[in-house]
């Protein structure tokens, strides 16, 4: 039985899709059978970030509404034969799928794959409820900004209410120079408020933009700092204990990365 992990945030544009693509690719590179599911119906992106846009025939809504079989809609990745994408529908809206259909889909994916990574849309409405419906675990992405932290807090509350306890936190787009100057919200401040386990810190890195445009996740780029951060996060998802990268972040944070993903 595989595991369904939803990547969510509340606030838009903080790096959910980037994170989904990178940890999905990272897990596939480690030999797992992985499927990436884009639930951002109407605003699909994950296919572009993965460089698979031109291969889409069927989509998520085709599967949930019975227009095609799951196998027909899955797109095989360019690099890894054990990595697949289930793209979102671009021409429909979020109400084209309901949480019950997502629960059934998640159950089906778990039979077939080691990991299903669900890329969640921004917001707390139906798209969010769909994305979390079949999930076993949640990863919450936020940036070191007060508004992103506020939304992450709201999301964590909603996840808890939906029985998705102990979500893991990724803090994305950290700028070490700003942290050093004290101009950026401190990681310890964020953890103080959110009170969840940190599973990784990803630096602001232009290689993300370059790799996104090229359709090749940064996690495969050995020279990329953000890629290195995602490689470490991938290891932690698999239950390994890996220290945080040296981004000159304040001490004492390692102690707070208590129980990393305990795994099968």
């Amino acid at each position: 039985m595989g595991e369904v992990i939803v990547v969510t945030s509340g606030k838009g544009g903080v790096g959910k899709t980037t994170t989904s693509a990178n940890i999905g690719t990272g897990l596939a590179a480690a030999g797992h059978k992985v499927v990436l599911v884009d639930t951002d119906i109407g605003l699909r992106n994950l296919d572009v970030v993965m460089g698979l846009e031109n291969r889409i025939v069927y989509d998520l809504v085709d599967v949930t509404s019975g227009n095609c079989r799951l196998k027909q809609a899955l797109i095989k990745d360019k690099r890894f034969p054990n990595l697949f994408l289930l793209p979102a529908a671009q021409t429909k809206d979020k109400t084209a799928v309901n949480p019950e259909q997502m629960r059934l889909l998640a159950a089906e994916l778990k039979e077939e794959f080691d990991y299903a990574i669900i890329d969640c849309p921004a917001g707390i409405e139906q798209g969010f409820r769909n994305a979390i419906a079949g999930a076993d675990r949640a990863i919450v992405v936020c940036t070191p900004e007060v508004s992103a932290v506020r939304d992450a807090d709201r999301i964590i509350g909603l996840l808890e209410a939906a029985e998705l306890r102990n979500p893991k936190l990724i803090i994305n787009r950290i700028r070490p120079a700003m942290v050093k100057r004290g101009d950026m919200m401190d990681i310890t401040d964020i953890l103080d408020i959110l009170a969840v386990d940190l599973i990784g810190v990803v630096p602001e890195d232009e290689s993300i933009v370059i790799s996104t445009n090229r359709g090749e996740p940064a996690v495969m780029d050995q020279a990329s700092q953000a890629g290195e951060a995602y490689r470490r996060i991938t290891s932690r998802i698999q239950g390994e204990e890996v220290p945080l990268m040296n981004l000159d972040v304040p001490k004492g944070i390692m102690e707070r990365m208590k129980s990393l993903f305990g795994l099968r």
């Binding site: 007060v146 506020r150 939304d151 807090d153 709201r154 964590i156 509350g157 909603l158 808890e160 103080d192 408020i193 009170a195």
Partner: protein
């Protein structure tokens, strides 16, 4: 912020009672009432209120205006209380409870129904309660608590807290780490502290001489201990 001198809203076991000063000018009453209701309206929405104004009799016109002001804030005027039905401070109505209340008050003890919240209140959560509220966790920015009584937070209070929401000026707000976005007691409002000084220890906010003040909660065993 001026104090409402001639109107008061109290939560009793039998529901809300609006006290109107029988000696006050009706226009003054209306002005103060409007303000009082606007300050506590979130908590009160949909409630019914009974009024008490001693022996004073209002004209039909005044009565209608009172009803309108209440209805504007989604409150229903459910009737008038006579002096037999209402508890007036200083009136020897129920000697035993009064004695007990003063005694407990003098010893710094407070009675009343109480809601225990056994978790952290995250952004978007709102707790409203007719009584005291105790949170066994944090109250995060974007969360709020509105209580007619006291509010005590065992963790950090960073959200919005409104104690004594129906006008109880003796109400307090206390927290292990008190840094609310906004803090209200009865009709007084204050913003949180600008300086995010750490390690201040437990603090308590209360009204003293018409001012909302924050002081260290006298818990010597706690203070100085790092979190």
């Amino acid at each position: 912020m001026t104090r409402a001198e001639h109107v008061a809203l109290k939560g009793t076991r039998e529901g809300l009672v609006l006290y109107l000063d029988p000696t006050a000018d009706f226009e003054v009453l209306m002005k103060e009432l409007d303000k009082l209701l606007k300050d506590s309206v979130q908590f009160l929405q949909g409630a019914s209120v009974r009024c008490y104004a001693g022996q004073k009799e209002y004209t039909e016109d005044e009565h209608a205006r009172l009803e309108t002001v209440l209805r504007e804030q989604h409150l229903e005027l459910a009737g008038w209380l006579t002096s037999e039905e209402v508890y007036v401070p200083g009136k020897s109505q129920s000697q035993t409870t009064e004695d007990k209340e003063t005694r407990l008050g003098e010893e710094g003890m407070m009675e009343g129904s109480c809601l225990f919240v056994e978790r952290t209140l995250r952004s978007g959560k709102s707790v409203q309660f007719d009584g005291h509220v105790v949170v066994l966790g944090d109250v995060n920015p974007g969360a709020e608590i509105i209580a007619t009584g006291n509010i005590a937070v065992l963790g950090s209070l960073r959200g919005v807290a409104h104690a004594g929401a129906t006008g109880e000026r003796n109400a307090t707000v206390s927290a292990y780490y008190l840094a609310p976005t906004q803090l209200r007691i009865a009709d007084l409002v204050t913003r949180g502290p600008e300086d995010e000084a750490d390690g201040r220890g437990p603090e308590i906010a209360r009204i003293k001489d018409d001012q909302l003040i924050v002081e260290a909660a006298g818990m010597n065993g706690w203070r100085g201990k790092a979190r």
